[in-house]
Amino acid sequence: MSKYSIFSLARNALSYHEDWQRAWRSPDPKPEYDIIVIGGGGHGLGTAYYLAKEFGYKNVALLEKGWLGGGNTGRNTTIVRSNYLWDESAALYEHALKLWEGLSQELNFNVMFSQRGVMNLAHNLHDWRELNRRVHAIRLNGIDSEILTAAQVKKEAPIFNVSPDSRYPIMGASIQRRGGTARHDAVAWGYARAADARGVDIIQNCEVTGLTIRNGKIEGVETTRGAIRAKRVGVVVAGHSSVLADMAGFRMPVESNPLQALVSDPIKPVLDCVVMSSAVHVYVSQSDKGELVIGAGSDLHVSYSQRGSFDIVEGIMGALCELVPMVSRLKMMRQWGGIVDVTPDRSPIIGKTPIDGLFVNCGWGTGGFKATPGSAHVFAATLAKGEPHRLAEPFALDRFHSGRLIDEAGAAAVAH
């Protein structure tokens, strides 16, 4: 892999940028691997990368049914934060945030991580009390979190209407200044390039159609490009986790729902932080291109259609026009949906399955992007050792019968 730098840029300029090396190879699958990672989104690609880099695995394949980052990695609103309430979540998401902070250098790929701050609004007394409680709990876990008054919110984000007479009055907000956004595609591409450079076979257009299981132990996978043997298999397929679990013959506490987002036409800079409101299910930031990136709520029925209902869009745009009156003059350019895998406690599932050698990393629901490096790192450790990583341990599948749930549904600043 040739290193990207100002010098390589200058050198390639001489040949009119026509001779850039491909960022990753496109190998045919080998008959057998030590570890197969299913799913070529950020979490899967990162898992493959850390397996090669941190745990010295040379014989790893990553299988992707479509193209890299074509699922939820390319469909989210790119928000990164670690302001979660419960200790287990705080540790996991903060682990991710610390990896985000050095990711561009580590991967030699600009993931455009921008720590512009993430604000969560409080609209009523209950919101305000809950937000204060949360801020202090987060600070006790050593994670940065501050409280802003309505006047401070206005100063940070002048386009917001903080009038007490508005439909959704803003009483104040919490802000995590180390939070922000990153370029989602670059995260997938950066991990893919770095994993490939360390010998991982990234195989695209290769859909897993079955799992080979003998005596309760995984032996390989059936794919559209033939059978591949493996000692261990990691499933990182987000919305399709239940489909893979069905192939293995067990059920999961997961339901797949469409979650939508949309972008406006590009305008001059008006918003230099991320603003979220759980109460009205809207989160908004401005991309470097100038588009307002707006996230909505999810539909409540099971769907794999990758498109959501229009009434959700209508609902959040109505709320956003009240919160940010200038939005009423904007045109919305694109709208899309992704399929999120939602668990009953809104926390991910990382670790072992009833099948020996088959591991799962799923259930990130509506907020997986922010966790990408941390999720990938702890899952790689879990796959490498065959035992859950310390930070992944509380997120095991067996918590649903032990009763040790990590209930982030109402607790974290999550817009569900």
Binding site: H240, S242, V243, P253, V302, S303, Y304
Partner: protein, 93 residues
Amino acid sequence: MFLIDCPWCGPRQQTEFHCQGEAHIARPKDPDALSDEEWANYVFNRTNPKGVHFERWVHNHGCRRWFNVARDTVTDRILAIYRMGEKRPKVKS
């Protein structure tokens, strides 16, 4: 978004309805006899299929009555609508 043919009110917009998840999950007859795994399976585990899903809907902004729907989760096409308590119909996606 789709139209749902309420068995009592006729075709109405989806926004009038609320989906209440997978249908035909029978409450265990003797919960005390269940192991933790069996209880978790009843409370939390779902089929979540890519294809035909049998699910409960309620017409909460209309007649407020419940009914079952068989829907293809890939196309959102509704394949059958039937009353609570009826057996799941044979449908093809």
